[in-house]
Amino acid sequence: MLRNAWLIPLIPAVSFVLILAFGRRLPAKGAEIGIGAIGISFLLSLVAVVQWVGRSEPREAVERHLSWWKLGGVDIGAGIHVDGLTVMMLAVVTFISLLVQVYSTGYMEGDRRYTYFFAALSLFTASMLMLVVADNTLQLMVGWELVGMCSFMLIGHWWEEEANSSAAIKAFLTTRTGDVGLMLGVITLFFAAGQNFNIANLNRLALTGGISHGLLLTGGALLFLGVMGKSAQFPLHVWLPDAMAGPTPVSALIHAATMVVAGVYLVARVYGVFWAGFSIGDGGINLIALIGGITVIIAAALAFVQDDIKKVLAYSTISQLGYMVMALGVGAWTAGVFHLFTHAFFKALLFLGSGSLIHAVHSNNMSEMGGMRKRMPTTFWTFMVGSLALAGIPPLAGFWSKDEIINGASHGFTLFMVVGLLGAFMTAAYMTRAVYLVFFGEYRGHAHPHESPKSMAVPLQVLGVLSVLGGLVGTGLAGSKWRFSNWVRFDIPGAPEIVKEHAFNFPVATLSVAVGLIGIGIAAGYYLRNMFPRGAAEKSGLVRTGYKVLVNKYYLDNLYIDGVVRSIQYPIARAAYWVNQHVLDGAVNGVGIGARKTAQVVYDVVDQKVIDGAVNGAGFTAEEGGIVLRQTQTGRVQTYAAFLFGASALIAVGLVFFT
């Protein structure tokens, strides 16, 4: 399967076409094609994982390339590059996609565009898988853009409501802004690598000094712009909360587990460039870690002031993405990738759980929920598991990955270790707040909530189990071969090894757990036991201001829309209007006026004088000629006789004298 990994993206792509063609006529309206295809892809991915893990050390990446066209020395084509990171991503993407599609048969039942939804999910999965197996930056970019487009399509699934279509556009345009950087970065690195798109080649050149530092820094920074857009890093994170306007399965699949991690995946994949370009090995602050760290904190802060449960989870996602980026920024490559792996499970679980709640209560707002733990037990328990995993409580999955990040940061990046610990505290706190508001207390809404159907409950349970057990992959309990860091490695043959593995550090682990428990404790105490002073906002103007800033999302949206967009949009619109009125309309009117004047001249001169003159003249001539010639028709015989005699005499003379 490793050599035939190109099948894995192909099957959902075919499913996309088939669903569009036949979906409506099938009994399950196309869902069976989608789920079937994804199921097959998932099985193939598992086979790929097993095959990869079963390979003996050192595991060499499998590359296959199909050249589309060659121009000069430039080779453009599609190919696959299968290594540990690839098979891990394949498994995660297909698995989450499978669960989400099963969940959607329940959640989206009776939807107005049910078949189309499944087709879009299949297309998205195919694009993401293509991105993941890509062996050259061009193919990666194609997959990148495609997932962006699918995100747009799916966020705006219910586009009849303007808020949804606006959110879709905002998502698309914000990521597009980042994609400018991505494109420029790809081009820069193409030239830097000697006119070659291949990623492995790029990494090798970057790590062996084949490319100048300045070029690597520039290319890496430009690529990172794309990462900031796609993976919702500060300041391009603004689209992700708005993207919650899409259906919850979409939020679970795309905006939690798979698409948003494409940026993280890019950094992980082209890590040689970033490592060398940003001098990560030298310690200290670099752009990647800085942005990641900022994102962790500001997103976590925003999660505290949200009423909509999906927005809480959205900000949580942004914060966790910050963790992953920060991990890569401090050189903890394996930790970041491992966190990507575990985060997919518990975040998808949390989103699907929130979907279950929303489906039951018919509202997104936590203010209309409450006391749900008795009415929806399955949802309650799975959501709890997910929250604890997110908070980093051992032995759940989140602990292992988050701890590894903090551990990695502690080796030379003290600032970011502090950031990570602070983030862990805030994560635990806001999740506890959310859990309390939803599941505890009295029910504040007006609907009649009941537990969700099996199609929705079973994926929750599956993900719950994985959230518990998933982290164990990192420990090697299933055998050293299966240990995550053994088969998912950043290895470039011919280049020095850059990723160092750090041993499990007990004090750091204790610290991170303690921080999480303190967070839970404070929040639980605030809500359940009414500890800590209330009404801080009424008493302190500073708190009030802080609250206002948070509620307005740091006024970033205002900055973008009023500041950036309007200042460009208005002058251009005015200029375009001026051109339209004066230049274009002037030209059109000029043509019209010219035509009219020409017509006038033609009428007056040509038609009236010349042509009418000719026609009238002909008539006049005929008439006058007739008047003249009529004189000969006197009706009198003698006149005719005169002509007769005269003519005969003439003819006679002619005949006699001239012949």
Binding site: R636, Q638, T639, A642, F645, G646, A649, L650, A652, V653, V656, F657
Partner: protein, 163 residues
């Protein structure tokens, strides 16, 4: 030969003068009488040329019958006896021109064709020779002419009948 030339000259002068007056007189009856003079002159010419029978027939038929007929016509159409208004229409000058042109053409042709050839007078033709010709060589035209006369007679009667 002199006598014949003189005779011819006299006859010719009389005929031309009479013909001229015929076409210019304002009196219809006088025009008829001038016609009679011309016809008489023609008979004289015939005699000069030795065609006595034809000359006498000319006198009998033309002067005796046709002129009378014309005078009857003049009478029946109440033409005023005596001078009346202009008898020429308004194209007289054109007519004069045409007539002169015809004359000129004929004269030129005649002068060119026959120049000064003479008639060798062979003596008076015998009437018997004429009758031989009529009833012998040209008997069919003779019969046709008689039928034509009949037709003309009947036609004239039919036309002029007052019913």
């Amino acid at each position: 030969m002199v006598a014949q030339n003189i005779a011819f000259g006299l006859l010719a002068a009389a005929m031309v003068a009479a013909g001229f007056r015929l076409v210019t007189t304002k009196n219809v009856v006088r025009a008829a009488l001038f016609l009679a003079i011309v016809l008489g002159g023609v008979a004289g010419i015939f005699t000069l040329l030795g065609a006595e029978f034809v000359a006498w027939v000319q006198v009998l038929v033309y002067i005796g019958a046709i002129v009378v007929l014309l005078l009857f016509g003049v009478m029946l159409t109440r033409a005023p006896i005596g001078k009346e208004g202009d008898l020429d229409n308004d194209q007289r000058w054109t007519a004069a021109l045409v007539a002169l042109f015809v004359l000129g053409a004929l004269a030129a042709v005649l002068a060119d064709a026959w120049g000064t050839q003479e008639i060798k007078f062979q003596g008076v033709q015998r009437t018997a020779a004429v009758s031989d010709s009529i009833f012998g060589t040209y008997v069919v035209p003779f019969e046709v002419a008689s039928v034509l006369l009949l037709a003309a007679l009947v036609g004239a009667v039919a036309l002029a009948r007052r019913d």
